[in-house]
């Protein structure tokens, strides 16, 4: 499947993957983040149950402490 990840094209071998699996495959280990799929915010507790499909627009934002 092909998705948009932060406005860049990304390809995965599977037809669909969970958010958790995508983070693992992409080695995104930093914990504090916001993820939106097609404009909908996905809370942390839904990373396992939320499935990313072909054509999805995934936006990720890292939250760094400081302010």
């Amino acid at each position: 499947m092909k998705i948009l990840l932060n406005n860049r094209k990304e390809e995965f071998e599977m037809d669909s993957i969970s958010v958790s699996k995508m983070l693992l495959l992409k080695k995104f280990s930093f914990r504090m983040r916001i993820i939106k799929i097609n404009g909908v915010l996905i809370s942390r507790e839904k990373y396992d149950s939320t499935i990313i499909k072909d054509g999805d627009n995934v936006q990720m934002l890292y939250l760094m402490s400081g302010g």
Binding site: Q59, Y62, M64
Partner: protein, 217 residues
């Protein structure tokens, strides 16, 4: 252009110069006075952002913070030595009144949580995320995006240390979520938050707020 030629800077609402009427700063101020902006946190980001918005003429600013000013805050936060020990919200209201007394400032001395955020910021046209802790940033973003759909939220993320101007950026994720900062540096003992980078991000956030409000009717 000839030397000495009088240049009048004019601004227009929206992206297109066609069909949009031109505005001087006095008109911009009148337009901005109609709006209400919420600021979550009155530390380095919140205090500097609030003052920039007040100087620009934003009508109402809703401030929420539960902290007291400490001497170590003065390296970046918009407070003065004689205000150490005061509640940040009270001191910031005072400082705003000294820069633009026309701004109506509403203060809440509360620790923000999922339950009180929608009440405290109800009626705000835009909300600025100005916390220091990343878990609080996450909580605020989730709450505003889920409980206050449609309200634009301007997040600050990544501003520790000094230098590296080229890494500080602005990103619009969608119509309701905007990010200012380098999205990579985290505050630590050897990478402290300092006035220049915190001030840059706070003012970038204020700049995004104004850009959004100038397109609102």
């Amino acid at each position: 252009m000839k030397r000495g030629h009088k240049v009048i800077l004019r601004y227009s609402i929206g992206m297109s110069s066609k069909n949009s009427f031109k505005m001087r700063f006095s008109d911009i101020k009148v337009h901005l006075s109609k709006f209400r902006v919420g600021i979550a946190g009155a530390g380095g980001l919140g205090s500097n952002c609030a003052v920039a918005l007040a100087r620009s003429g934003v009508g109402t600013i809703v401030l929420s913070d539960f902290d007291v000013i400490e001497e170590q805050n003065l390296n970046r936060q918009y407070y003065f030595t004689d205000q150490v020990g005061m509640m940040k919200t009270v001191a910031l209201k005072e400082n705003i009144a000294r820069t633009n007394p026309d701004v109506f400032v509403i203060i809440h001395q509360k620790k923000l949580d999922k339950l009180n955020i929608p009440d405290i910021f109800s009626g705000c046209d835009v909300i600025v995320e100005a916390f220091d802790r990343s878990d609080m940033k996450e909580m605020l973003i989730e709450t505003v995006q889920q409980k206050m759909p449609g309200t634009p939220l301007i997040v600050g993320s990544g501003m520790a240390g000094w230098g590296k101007n080229e890494t500080i950026r602005y990103r619009k994720i969608d119509e309701t979520l905007y990010v200012c900062g380098d999205e990579s540096t985290e505050v630590s003992e050897d990478l402290p938050p300092m006035a220049p980078r915190v001030g840059i991000v706070a003012n970038m956030q204020a700049n995004v707020v104004i850009e959004i409000l100038m397109k609102m009717r």
